[in-house]
Symmetry: C2
Subunit: 251 residues, 2 copies
């Protein structure tokens, strides 16, 4: 594995707006902090700024809610326009109870409100959606960093998702480039010779969670660098985290 | 929050056996690596070594399986003695399908096989159980480190749990001392003045996941130090992660 990790926030990022040059903003913020990206660094970026730079913002004033959205909004005491956006981002509704809406997104991720969020939208009465293809976003950011900062980094695009059974949200990977999603111990043996049959560790999710510890929701710090991660496994995508519905015991 | 984190493994731990002085082994391994614990460090310890030092090991030869364990073992192609131990550690079975057993433990944690595991038991034909009270274990370790290493650390006892909807396991906190479980953003506002209503970040779980990145299952590295975590919130316990069944939409 690795001797040790260091994780530091990229301070001084401005508010990110549609069509902004996100990679340029990250490189400039790093330069101002006298930091440089190194080969092997993992650049962890909150979905919110990726989505905003990609224009994945919807002004609620421009949304015409469907009858279904209106009915559900009345049931759950929600804004029907925001609910309409959530429904458009949803492939399947897993739960709709007590105003809580747990959705499978078109990507296959299971999360509240299909990842549609009103906070930190950068403008009033607007919501931010998840990137259309967060793995592709991560790949583009990675390629651009290679080109413009001459560093072979990995990129993880993250969002904070709730989970079943445990209180609290954790930061997880919704887009990955240059890093494995899962570290597999299957078929290997422990020191007593007992075979580890099914252990797969969600390392990119753990990287996302680690980075969250220095990011923070209020102080506009959407990017962190995780240095010292050394994986031998091939690169995967966050789609590798999607458990097929047929194999999921909790739908 | 914090400027940055460093995370490093505590190398050179021997196999831990019942009644071993776990804190003494950690302090000795750190000394040998010329590392010292500092105030504010988080000492992350895999449940497996905590359990072993507390004697939470069961030799399968000494287990008399119940009729229920025998029936289920036949259904699921399992060892009836191991299944008997799992059932004793289980408060409620959430799922029993295709040989997969998802349990609520007596602590309230939801995980496969009630946390009973045969790998890395340190002896053949034995299983390791979760600590009886992992928060109390974390508290004892913390107090002992304060006394014997003169450092005011926090302690997180961890296990790797699967989750709904997403492939892979992540390291999570099952015992906490000196650290908050949840960082709460409720009632605070984002830069646009939008109120963050329900965000709670499971920071001790994120610390556990971060530490796992340097731990590893095969190379006998069950302890890691996370340095630079600075929480203003009061200490909590891992019981704060237990979502009451009545409020859980996925049982």
């Amino acid at each position: 594995m690795t001797r040790g990790l260091t994780i530091f926030p990229v301070a001084g990022m401005p508010e990110v707006r549609p069509k902004d040059d996100l990679v340029g903003l990250v490189i400039a913020a790093l330069a101002k902090a006298k930091e440089r990206l190194a080969d092997g660094d993992v650049v962890v970026i909150a979905q919110k700024v990726v989505s905003k730079s990609e224009g994945r913002i919807v002004k609620l004033a421009e949304v015409e809610p469907s009858e279904r959205a209106k009915t559900m909004a009345a049931e759950g005491n929600k804004d029907p326009r925001q609910l309409e956006v959530v429904l458009r981002e949803t492939k399947t509704i897993l739960r709709w109870e007590r105003g809580v809406l747990i959705c499978e997104t078109h990507h296959g991720f299971v999360c509240a409100n299909a990842g549609v969020d009103r906070s930190n939208a950068g403008q009033p009465d607007a919501v931010v959606l998840l990137p259309l293809d967060p793995d592709a976003s991560a790949g583009r950011i990675r390629d651009e960093i290679a080109r413009r900062a001459s560093a072979r980094v990995a990129v993880v695009v993250t969002d904070t998702f709730g989970r079943a059974w445990r209180e609290g949200h954790t930061n997880v990977a919704i887009g990955i480039a240059g890093l494995p999603a899962l570290k597999r111990y299957m078929g290997q043996t422990d020191p007593e010779g007992y075979e580890l049959r099914v252990t797969e560790i969600a390392v990119a999710d753990e990287v996302a969670g680690a980075a969250e510890l220095v990011m923070g929701k209020l102080d506009r710090c959407p990017v962190a660098i995780v240095r010292g991660v050394a994986f031998a496994e091939p690169s995967e995508t966050a789609r590798d985290y999607v458990r097929p519905a047929a194999r999921d015991l909790f739908r």
